[in-house]
């Protein structure tokens, strides 16, 4: 009646030369053989109905669960079992029975399609065993390596942990030391400050006295110069010989003007000259001395000069982004310099007004200063040591805070980088840090993502690493990279790809994911049923 005759079929399976004949309907696995008893009514495996046995594999779907047609394509949800003697048995969807494509290596799925299939099970089995063997070897060695890694990591971790503890102690000591030194410093600075102030005040007074004397000497000198006829008086006409004193700057010092400067007197003697001197001393040019150039005003830039100098000094630890801090530092340094340096002619104004430098500190003051300076230096050194200690602790703590796997087996990847060169790019994976890509023939590096998280499947999240928030894509998302980890003896990036725009995929082998080899399940020819 049908164009195909698809009655009950027997399976004649051959396994390693031993012919075994087992009767069961086509496509039924051994484990379900008992449900298909010849010449007894068949009950669908879901129990939904019972049909005569000749409707099993009759190429018409009677059971909703497809169980009456294990060996035909009649049921949309059925599955077919291939024994695949010599290789692995498997189930395929019923829709692959007689579809012209060889799915089962034992060719049993294509019994009526005309497809020319060859039994490749032995070959596949051999290859699989080879692969499995190789994998087993790799796994074995990888697992040994992993044990080492775990050992090292544990050791390292312990060391670090110990180091942190030790450093915490040290830090505490350092903190105490800093505090102690701070007190010492402050104690030393108080007398220093007072002594310095005293010294400064004394010098200021001294300077005022000197200035007064100098003025007087100048006045006397001027009087002599002005008193051309040396009669002990400076007259109006004598004054007029100094045209630079002209108050209205018309080039001549008229009688009235001169008289005005003389306070209305015709002539003055040395004692009354004092008031005249007050009027003229600013403009007066000595006849004997070469003309002094007008005091050049300090351009504002000059004040900044030291800053500029400081800028060019390398600040090794600092980033460019911390410019503001830099400026603060500069100022601090500047002031510190002020303090530290002997107060000589540091300030330009002072140096102009005063011909002489401040006298060096007296021995007593100097002793105080030296003592304070030493206290400061000690304090700063201690503080710096504390900061460094803090940094170190932070770094180790950061490292310790990473999830390096259940047994810390991924620890060794930390602060390492692995590269893969493709036809166009050099890819660089720095685990727990970032992934980047650089054109092979020049060009800048692109960030493909920074360490995000472990994101493998629920049963083992340590099989996949996710790196996120890389450089943004034009009209697209930020770049990100998924790193798939597989067991291997070596730690290598084996491939990279970009399945979606700006979403990279990297394959990475490492012993750290090698599982303990299951010694009881050595790859033999142990899977087939027969």
């Amino acid at each position: 009646m049908t164009c195909l005759h698809l009655l009950l079929t027997l399976v004649f399976a051959v396994s390693f030369g031993t012919p075994v004949e087992i009767q069961r309907p086509r496509g039924v696995p051994l484990t379900k053989k008992q449900f298909y008893e010849e010449n007894k009514p068949f009950t669908c495996l879901d129990g939904s109905r019972t049909i005569p046995f000749d409707r099993v594999n009759d190429d018409y779907c009677d059971c909703k669960d497809g169980s009456d047609e294990p060996g035909t394509a009649a049921c949309p949800n059925g599955s077919f079992h291939c024994t695949n003697a010599g290789y692995r048995p498997m189930f395929i969807p019923s829709s692959r029975i007689n579809d012209g494509i060889c799915d089962c290596c034992d060719t049993t799925d294509e019994y009526n399609s005309g497809a020319k299939c060859e039994n490749t099970c032995k070959e596949l089995g051999r290859k699989e065993r080879e692969v499995l063997q190789k994998m087993a070897e790799v796994t074995k060695e990888g697992f040994l390596l992993k044990q080492q890694l775990i050992e090292e990591a544990k050791k390292g971790q312990q060391e670090k942990q110990g180091k942190v503890t030790e450093m915490q102690d040290n830090k505490k000591q350092l903190e105490e030391k800093v505090e102690a030194l701070r007190t010492v410093k402050e104690t030393a600075e108080q007398p220093e400050k007072e002594a310095k102030e005293r010294h400064l005040k004394a010098w200021e007074e001294q300077k005022a006295a000197i200035r007064l004397e100098k003025d007087k000497a100048k006045m006397a000198e001027a009087f002599l110069e002005l008193d051309d006829n040396a009669d002990g008086f400076v007259s109006v006409s004598e004054l007029q010989s100094h045209a630079e004193l002209d108050p209205d700057a018309d080039g001549t010092l008229s009688d009235t003007e001169a008289q005005g400067l003389m306070g209305g007197a015709e002539q003055v003697d040395t004692s009354t000259f004092e008031s005249v001197w007050t009027n003229i001393k600013d403009k007066y040019h000595s006849e004997s001395l070469p003309e002094e150039p007008a005091p050049v005003e300090t351009p504002p830039d000059e004040v900044k000069e030291p800053v500029v100098d400081n800028d060019s000094e390398p600040y090794p630890e600092d980033d460019v982004s911390e410019e503001e801090d830099d400026d603060d530092d500069d100022e601090d340094d500047y002031h510190e310099d002020d303090d530290k340096a002997a107060p000589t002619n540091k300030t330009p104004e002072k140096s102009h007004e005063d011909e002489e430098a401040m006298p060096t500190y007296d021995a007593e003051t100097q002793t105080l200063i030296d003592a304070a300076q030493k206290a400061r230096d000690d304090f700063e050194e201690a503080e710096k040591a504390l900061r460094e200690m803090d940094d170190q602790i932070r770094n180790i703590e950061k490292e310790l805070s990473f999830d390096f796997g259940p047994d810390a087996e991924f620890t060794y990847l930390y602060s390492q980088c692995y590269e893969l060169t493709t036809s166009e790019y050099i890819y660089r994976l720095c685990p727990f840090n970032r992934v980047s890509q650089k054109p092979k023939y020049g060009g800048s590096e692109t960030n493909l993502g920074s360490w995000g998280s472990w994101s493998g499947p629920e049963n083992n999240k340590y099989l996949v690493m996710k790196y996120e928030h890389g450089t943004g894509c034009w009209q697209g998302p930020n770049r990100s990279t998924t790193v798939k980890l597989t067991c291997g003896k070596e730690t290598v990036v084996t491939s990279t790809s970009e399945p979606s725009r700006c979403e990279y995929l990297m394959e990475f082998t490492t012993p750290a994911v090698c599982q303990e080899p299951d010694n009881t399940d050595l790859p033999a020819h142990g899977h087939e049923e027969l």
Partner: protein, 935 residues
């Protein structure tokens, strides 16, 4: 009245505006011309309806057997036109208007008509000073030529079906000489001395010319930075058509708009100018990638069509005397006795060429389809596999990627037939080549797919990289096949590969050469399961005006202006011909195109271009493909998932469900989107998409049969409801559901978060069966259907028989020999009929050797019978009938199969709750004669 009317208009425009602004991202409108920016459109549109200056010179009338000629004169400038009228077989009239004596020939579009249309005799019924009455043969149809002013009216009995130039908008810009320093004095002298009459006319023209030149850019036009030198000056043409009694017009794709065309008063006309529009906007008349200048007019009495055969830039204005009237307003009209007949007026404007119009008089929708098919041919009959599911992405990165996607389908048990490669597969976008690193072994890859009985499509675009190391470029250069710029040098423009040349596909020698490049020994790495996709064939020129070619570029002696809209057709044609030739003419082609013109249906499939992952884009896919189907191009689809942007999972699922019921079913995605193969969204969603694709595969026999029908008759595969229910006015504007053939009605869910859809089931006295539950519903009702994410509301018409292959496998080829299940859906009168079509699925043997099975299936008088529709055909199949489901049946006492004179009982089951009778394994061969008797 007026107030109501204005209020309605106001509301409409508010809706339009809000649509415009709510669009999430959109086209850069500034890149494309409005009518005002297109000089000829602006000039023509400035001309308002009124008294036509044209007069028919009846004394010049000449009538041969089937051709009437008559001169027209424009009383303003005395230019003579020549009118030709033909009565064509199959109830069509052709109207041609050209200059009587043009300065040089005007362009007439070749290669669109499949042959010179056969004519039928015309006869003069009466003639006087006012005009001529011609008989259009049977059915009392007459054609009336009125002389002063000139107009044409086609009448049937007392009714005017259609009038031409009734609004006086016939305008014909005659060729003229340029009257400034750049004119060529020689030519002018010669012309003027030839014909005194002409000379006089010239004088008139010159005045026009002089006046217009300054204002209207008749001889030069600049858009953005591009200047169009117009050595031929103004050449545009225009004609108006009035359609009394018509309120619904359709067609003129391609526009991202509703099925029913809108009136264009107050906005731009619908534009037909093939353009590569980046991120197109919905619900507006802007031009898109293709043009089919065919409009259908429909009312309850009649369906007609207007085919405006012109390949130059074209604008179509539509106005209506009922537009904007509410139902209440119309009722008021009726009550107050204001008996103005509804009327739609249409005006066509083209930049150049001649007026060549085919008026298809129906009267039934199917008549219009066969009339149009008789002119431009039918849908190519696609290989069966191409009706399966296509998996595309810009781009599958390399062979490894292709392999893993292929395996992904098997791992998730999802069928597919074609995997596609976009531009990145080629070596530096040099088409016909392969990237040496990523696709180093294309044959290996194709062989791998072939072993899975699957196929591949690789893109071949028409822009050719200018590179002296590229064989294709060198050959085109040496054969001088490139399009030229106005100065006669090779035209070059910017496209994917950088600087590119554009082969002149209008040149038959060029096309023959191009076709030869698809030979297996020319196209290295190609195999018989490699097919082609032509993109960017508008043509797209990134740095050209409106992203396309300069209008003054030259194809031989003709300007690009003349041929623009047909360029894409020629590209697809040459490619399809190449594919057919590579197999020695044995195998059918499969070529997808983006640009198209009237006639493109003969060469393959089309998709709606670069859409977006938005719900509105999913919705618009329905009217866009319906419009294409109405004008002959059935093999249409939209990118499933949306090309730009990432779809939400819900949108993607809904798009699979919709795409599974549209003719061309391909998922595609932009380079910048995340991966979206159907198994990447969790097992539940994988299951939903798998189920949608499986429904498609189960129905492949039906789809294939519909394509055979489309190929034979021109009937659209995917149809608006009104095509099958032409008298049911409720169907006239429906474009969120559609018919597949006559027998399936699909109302896919296209709303986000939908909990139910309301589907209109047409047909008073008919019934429809839910294809999933077999529940019966009455026709002529709005049916509310609650939906979940798994629902795809589809109904089978009572009275139909649909063959399915319910054993869905991993590709269509794998299902070739599988048995059929017949779904017999009974009408209330317990009747049903259907067809079954079978052939080899890929060759021309169905045609050349009649190797096919075509059966008629009829259920009547409790007997289901298969009879041969093609007795002289010979094809054998190993497919058989495994099951028959009869929906709406009553329980028989016995079922008997009559086959080869023998009677055998057939087992059956009856589901009383849904009245479904299932016949178990009748088992006869699908090609046999048989009867199943229900007793």
């Amino acid at each position: 009245m007026a107030v109501i009317s204005i209020g309605r208009m106001g509301l409409l425009s508010v809706v339009c505006v809000s649509l415009f602004f709510s669009s999430a991202f959109a086209v850069d409108r500034g890149n494309f011309k409005t009518c005002d920016q297109s000089a000829f459109c602006k000039r023509q549109r400035a001309l308002k309806p009124g008294q036509s200056p044209y007069r028919a010179l009846l004394e010049t009338l000449e009538l041969s057997d089937s051709r009437l000629t008559l001169q027209l004169i424009n009383d303003n400038n005395k230019v003579h036109l020549l009118l030709e009228l033909y009565r064509l077989q199959g109830n069509m009239t052709r109207v041609k208007i050209n200059e009587l004596k043009p300065l040089k020939p005007r362009f007439e579009v070749p290669d669109v008509l499949i042959a010179e249309p056969p004519t039928e005799p015309l006869s003069v019924l009466s003639k006087d000073d006012n005009g001529v009455v011609l008989s259009l043969g049977a059915e009392s149809q007459r054609l009336i030529v009125s002389a002063r002013p000139f107009r044409l009216d086609i009448m049937e009995g007392p009714e005017v079906l259609l009038s031409l130039n009734s609004r006086g908008l016939l305008a014909f810009e005659h060729l003229r000489l340029r009257k400034d320093t750049q004119a060529q004095p020689d030519g002018a002298e010669v012309k003027e001395s030839v014909d005194g009459d002409q000379q006089q006319a010239e004088g008139e023209k010159d005045e026009d010319g002089e006046r217009d030149k300054e204002e209207d850019g008749l001889w030069e036009e600049t858009f953005k930075s591009h200047t169009d030198t117009k050595p031929n000056g103004p050449t545009s043409i225009s004609l108006d058509f009035s359609l009394p009694g018509v309120e619904h017009v359709y067609g003129i794709p391609e526009h991202a708009d509703n099925l029913k065309l809108k009136t264009t008063d107050g906005g731009d006309p619908y534009r037909l100018y093939n353009l590569d529009v980046f991120q197109y906007e919905l619900y507006n008349p802007m031009a898109l990638y293709g043009s089919i200048p065919v409009m259908l007019a429909h009312n309850t009495q009649r369906t007609m069509g207007i085919f405006w055969l012109n390949a130059a830039e074209t604008w179509v204005d539509i106005s209506s005397n009922t537009a904007g009237k509410t139902v209440f307003g119309k009722m008021l009209d009726f009550v107050q006795g204001s008996s103005e007949t509804p009327q739609t007026d249409v005006r066509w404007i083209s930049e150049s060429g001649i007026i060549d119009v085919f008026i298809m008089l129906g009267p039934k929708p199917s008549d219009v389809f066969s009339q149009y098919a008789s002119l431009t041919g039918t849908q190519s009959f696609p290989p069966l596999a191409s009706l399966g599911y296509h998996q595309c992405r810009w781009n599958y990165n390399d062979q490894e990627d292709v392999k893993s996607v292929d395996q992904g389908f098997d791992q998730h048990d999802i069928p597919y037939d074609f995997i596609w490669l976009d531009i990145e597969h080629a070596d530096g976008k040099r088409y016909f080549t392969w990237d040496p690193h990523k696709f180093a072994q294309p044959k290996e890859m194709l062989q791998g797919l072939m072993e899975k009985r699957r196929k591949m499509v690789a893109i071949v675009d028409p822009h050719i990289k200018v590179d002296s190391g590229y064989k294709i470029h060198n050959e085109i250069t040496s054969k001088d096949f490139y399009v030229k710029n106005k100065d006669g040098r090779n035209y070059e423009g910017w496209c994917w590969p950088g600087n590119s040349g554009y082969p002149d596909f209008t040149n038959p020698e060029m096309r023959a050469w191009w076709a030869s490049m698809f030979a297996y020994d020319q196209y290295e790495g190609s195999m018989e399961n490699l097919f082609t996709w032509n993109d960017m064939n508008e043509p797209s020129v990134f740095n050209g005006p409106e992203v396309t070619m300069h209008k003054d570029a030259l194809h031989g002696k003709w300007e690009h202006r003349e041929i623009h809209n047909i360029y894409g057709l020629y590209v697809q044609r040459a490619t399809a011909e190449g594919q057919i030739q590579r197999s020695g003419g044995v195998e059918r082609a499969f070529v997808l195109t983006r640009a198209f013109f009237a006639g493109s249906q003969r060469y393959g499939a089309v998709w709606t271009g670069d859409n977006a992952a938005e719900w509105d884009h999913l919705k618009i896919s329905i009217p866009m493909c319906l419009s294409l189907g109405l004008v002959g191009f059935s093999f249409c689809g939209a990118d499933v998932g949306g090309f730009f942007k990432n779809p939400s999972t819900e949108l993607l699922v809904r798009w699979y469900q919709t795409g599974a019921y549209q003719p061309f079913f391909r998922a595609h995605a932009h380079l910048d989107t995340t991966r979206r193969e159907p198994w990447l969204f969790g097992p539940e969603n994988t299951a939903l998409m798998r189920e949608a694709i499986r429904q498609r595969y189960a129905l492949l026999p039906y789809w294939y049969q519909l394509f055979y029908q489309a190929h034979k008759t021109g009937m659209p595969v995917m149809r608006p409801l009104w095509v099958d229910y032409p008298k049911d006015t409720a169907t006239f504007t429906i474009d969120d559901e559609f018919l597949i053939g006559s027998d399936l009605l699909a109302h896919p869910v296209t709303e986000e978060g939908s909990r139910g859809v309301t589907a209109y089931l047409p047909g008073a006295g008919e019934v429809w069966y839910d294809v999933h539950t077999f529940q019966k519903h009455n026709g002529a009702q709005n049916l509310y259907i609650p939906v979940t994410l798994s629902s795809i509301p589809v109904f089978q018409r009572g009275g139909s028989i649909i063959p399915r292959k319910d054993r869905v496998r991993r590709s269509s080829a794998c299902m070739e020999n599988d048995p059929y299940t017949l779904y017999v859906a009974l009408s209330p009168k317990k009747f049903a009929k259907g067809e079954l079509y079978i052939d080899d699925g890929h060759s021309f043997n169905y045609d050349t050797k009649k190797e096919l099975i075509h059966r008629s299936l009829t259920f009547a008088n409790n007997a289901l019978t298969s009879s041969n529709l093609c007795p002289d055909c010979n094809f054998s199949t190993s497919s058989w009938i495994e099951k028959v489901l009869i929906l709406g049946a009553s329980k028989p006492s016995k079922v008997v199969l009559k086959l080869d004179g023998k009677e055998t009982p057939v087992e059956f089951e009856f589901d009383a709750s849904m009245s479904v009778l299932t016949l178990r394994k009748p088992g006869m061969n699908a090609g046999a004669d048989w009867t199943l008797l229900l007793q």
